[in-house]
Subunit: 202 residues, 2 copies
């Protein structure tokens, strides 16, 4: 069985994306997988499916809050449900792609992890320019250069293309994964992804 | 840690309910839990939440079909996706409660397992009176007596009460479980239910 490619689609406003982001690195360590982080705008997928955030469905909303709290305790993660939810994630998502293109994948991933930690771990507003600037500085990038980069046409187009591409591949929620093309929806399926890799599918 | 009570809510038209029905007995064997089977009408919950079957959402529908097929292979279960989907499950659900009241819990569970096997394992139409009659005979009950029982006011009311009660407790999908009151949605969470029981919660 060769090394597998995992494509990890997520929206920064997705609590279960946050949980997934804190578990996906283990697939590199445990199985030697390559994990590519692909932020996208789940709202665009919701327009196609008629979906909406878990917290906006009657009954489901209450359960979801309880479930998120239980899951974060299970994972032992910092947790501060953000006042601004769901947040506009365009800036953070563009930032990941711009960092990937100009500073490399490791810096992009570090920024993505930090942005999730800021949003769900500390409840910060990651649509705020000052917060994004701090996150950029945290990975060694000048905040003004970063702010300017997020307004470039090329990076706007990149996020649009990634989002369109995700929807074309059938991605309708966050997180969503492909293991060498095999789709898995939800951090609930990380156990199944492990089985899939260990057995080489079934 | 004392023996736990698991309440297992499901709709017979739910594929993931079928998968759960084939895994829940293990909780009796492994942990000495009591499992109470509680069919309800998920359509009534969908009216409250605005939900609908997985197979009726754009994008999600395609994934769901793929995922069901993958899950049933994983579990090694018979599988014949029914032509009549989603089926009217009022009769089968009333049948479970009537059997429970008149023949005892074991017979009711046997009927429920058989009804799921007929519907998702062989693709039979379990809203059909002849199919329900065969299922009744399979657990040693006269088919005419069974058919008559399903039309009794008391059993109609029982299913209505169970469905209303489920919604009042926040049940919005199938399968849905309570372990001594702690809610878990989806057969995706069976792993978490095991952890919950093993650790005594967290």
């Amino acid at each position: 069985m060769g090394a597998k490619l995992i494509e990890f689609y997520f929206d920064f406003a997705s609590p279960f994306g946050y949980f997934a982001a804190n578990q996906i690195d283990a697939f590199e360590k445990d199985y030697g997988c390559s994990v590519v982080w692909k932020p996208f705008l789940v709202g665009a997928a919701f327009k196609v499916t008629g979906g909406k955030p878990l917290t906006e469905w009657p009954l489901k909303a209450e359960y979801s809050r309880h479930d998120m709290e239980r899951m974060r305790r299970y994972l032992g993660l910092p947790w501060q449900f953000p006042a601004n939810f769901p947040v506009l994630t365009v800036g953070a998502a563009r930032g990941v792609y711009w960092l990937e293109e100009t500073k490399g994948e490791d810096t992009a991933k570090r920024f993505a992890r930090d942005a999730y930690a800021a949003y769900f771990g500390r409840g910060q507003d990651i649509s705020d320019a000052a917060v994004l600037g701090d996150l950029a500085e945290g990975v060694g990038v000048d905040r003004d250069a970063f702010a300017a980069a997020l307004k470039e046409d090329a990076i706007k187009q990149r996020l649009k293309d990634e989002t369109d591409g995700a929807i074309e591949r059938g991605v309708f929620g966050s997180p969503f994964f492909f293991i060498d093309g095999e789709p898995f929806w939800g951090q609930d399926r990380l156990w199944m992804m492990r089985e899939w890799i260990e057995r080489g599918g079934w």
